[in-house]
Symmetry: C2
DNA sequence: GATCGTTATATCTTCAAAGATATAACGATA
DNA sequence: TATCGTTATATCTTTGAAGATATAACGATC
């Protein structure tokens, strides 16, 4: 019996290999797709609050992500200030910019991997 | 300023790139690591019930996975019989064996990808 | 028809994650 | 000192997934 293509084994028409990637430190996941987008939006808006709103995330969750990121990194990724003229605000560090850049490249390589694997199904 | 290694940006010592993969049909995830092990154990034990116990999964969840797998595949991956001498039992189809084999190869390639990406951090 | 262990299914309970809400702290400006 | 919008934090509610439990259906064997 000849070997069938995987897609022949399955019922529906459109199949893809998909997945997700993250950085792990001592078994703890800490840098997935969510945080990257949040960092980008903090950079754009200058505020955790506004960044959270833009991605329809609760402020609470956004703050937790920021807190977690800062705890895991050698230098803070997000610098926050409270009070002042505009009530405060946040900016991202050079390290955060490098992490964003790295993550974009990583995602691009992963995307290629997934596309190759999806082709292999057919 | 020279570009730092990613691992220098982070606090703790041991970092890895990790992730998970699955097959998707019409946006619905349906074939991850859990089902593969379950299929293997059904093949080994001849019973959904015993397979579930071996991997410390509730029968309910195991049965749901089996039901889902059969619904997604052109031919059933698990053939079940009820009643009879031993109360019934289950076996896996040729298609399931092919899926297991495919998934093992896919995991091996993914493992290589993750290892390469982890090396890149350092 | 009584027995057996399994499949098949429904229902109830638990538990953790997420969301909603409220409020204190902050500090430049006027 | 009053105002402002933001950060920082606590607490309560909601929700969905998982787990626990119970039971019917099944059919070869005796």
């Amino acid at each position: 019996m000849s070997k069938k293509k995987i897609s022949d084994l399955l019922k529906k028409g459109q199949f893809t290999v998909n997945g997700s990637l993250w950085l792990e430190g001592d078994g703890v996941r800490f840098f997935g797709p969510g945080p990257v987008q949040l960092l980008e939006l903090i950079q754009e808006t200058g505020s955790i609050n506004q960044a959270a709103k833009k991605m329809q995330m609760s402020y609470k969750k956004a703050w937790q992500l920021v807190d977690n990121l800062n705890a895991m990194s050698a230098q803070p990724m997000v610098i926050t200030t409270t009070g002042g003229e505009k009530g405060g605000g946040s900016s991202i560090s050079e390290e955060a910019i490098q992490m964003i850049s790295y993550h974009q490249q990583l995602r691009a390589r992963f995307k290629k991997f997934l596309e190759e694997e999806t082709l292999r199904l057919k």
